[in-house]
């Protein structure tokens, strides 16, 4: 997995790329620190370039959500495609996140 984070105009954009799996915990830790330290009211996670996500990757998205909510920010999952969109639907994430195309 690759990632980059940018905070602008009240929004923290987290762009993930490649395969998001249990092996990516070190990068995930950096992302959590960014979410903790940001002041933005909205965290947008761009999944458009993610080709594969596993159950641990879903767990990491949930921990981003917990971290954002602890400072009253919300999380949007944007652009999920293919396998990623299917697993997010199977896991009933529409009840937890705002999902956008």
């Amino acid at each position: 997995m690759n990632h980059d984070c940018q905070e602008q105009d009240g929004q923290l954009s987290v762009r993930l790329q490649g395969r998001v799996t249990y092996a990516d915990h070190a990068q995930f830790r950096q992302i959590i620190n960014q979410v903790r330290g940001a002041t933005a009211a909205t965290v947008v996670v761009d999944l458009a370039e993610v080709e594969f996500i596993d159950s641990a990757g879903l767990g990491m998205l949930l921990m981003m959500r917990d971290t954002a909510e602890s400072r009253s920010a919300s999380v949007v999952l944007r652009g999920a495609q293919g396998q990623v969109a299917r697993i997010i639907a199977a896991s009933k994430f529409e009840s937890l996140f705002a999902l956008e195309d």
Binding site: T21, A26, F52, D54, S55, A56, G59, I87, S91
Partner: protein, 238 residues
């Protein structure tokens, strides 16, 4: 010169003395230049070598772990006798490579699986492999409280076990067999097993762990847990 129909073996990254001993012990002849071998023996495995081996092997890819020829020969003899495609690696190698992706890509090429089906099988096999690696062979338990701190502690425990040969050199096996309608994939570890009753598949949306078995159940037509929790058997429609 290899005789027609004789079970064969090729090696990639393995010292010649070791591969010759494995071939002798397993009753496999070294393959000639022409044909594909039944078994590909590998060591110092990275993604590139694993992909090459999965493409070349007619039946099995077997890692030589810690230069133990007797162990590799026993695995090679067993796997070469079963039709299908199999891979047997150390836990360290299974963790360091994209095993599920490479295995299911090779399987998909052989069976002509369409892309959506291949992705579903890949995710199920990946989840089964991760469970076998982390909870089976490395004996790292599930997340206790599901906080970020717990998660980091869990990741550190995994990294620590990967440096301990008693855990990191345990074998992990993935094997597939098929007929016209179905493909069955078995993922087996060498850990102490589980209380199978405790392995409820969970899908409460907010759960951060324990979702893997649920996903496998959604993706596979049939799932069975065998050998006291050491073996997961998944059946998919082709």
């Amino acid at each position: 010169m290899t005789k027609l129909g004789e079970p064969t073996l090729i090696a990639d990254g393995v010292a010649p003395a070791v591969s010759e001993e494995v071939a002798r012990r397993a009753g496999l002849a070294p393959a000639g230049d022409g044909g594909g071998a039944l078994v590909v023996l590998i060591a110092d495995v990275d993604d590139e070598r694993l992909e090459r081996a999965l493409t070349a092997a007619a039946r099995a890819c077997v890692e030589v772990i810690d230069r133990d020829a007797a162990d590799a020969a026993a695995v090679a003899a067993r796997l070469s006798a079963e039709p299908g495609l199999a891979v047997s690696l150390s836990t360290a190698t299974g963790h360091a490579t994209e095993l599920a992706r490479l295995f299911v890509e090779a399987l998909g090429r052989r069976l002509g699986l369409d892309e959506e089906r291949r992705q579903a099988v890949e995710l199920a096999v990946h989840e089964a492999v991760v469970n076998a690696l982390l909870h089976g062979n490395l004996e790292v338990g599930p997340l206790p409280k599901e906080t970020v701190e717990d998660f980091i502690a869990h990741c550190n425990a995994v990294e620590a076990r990967l440096t301990d040969p008693d855990y990191a050199l345990r074998r992990l096996e993935v094997r597939a067999s098929w007929d016209d309608g179905r493909v069955t994939v078995v993922v087996a570890d060498a850990g102490p097993g589980f209380d199978v009753e405790s392995l409820a598949a969970r899908n409460e949306p907010t759960r951060k762990s324990g979702r893997g078995l649920f996903l496998i159940g959604e993706l596979a037509e049939d799932v069975a847990i065998e050998d006291g929790g050491r073996r997961l058997v998944m059946t998919f429609r082709r």
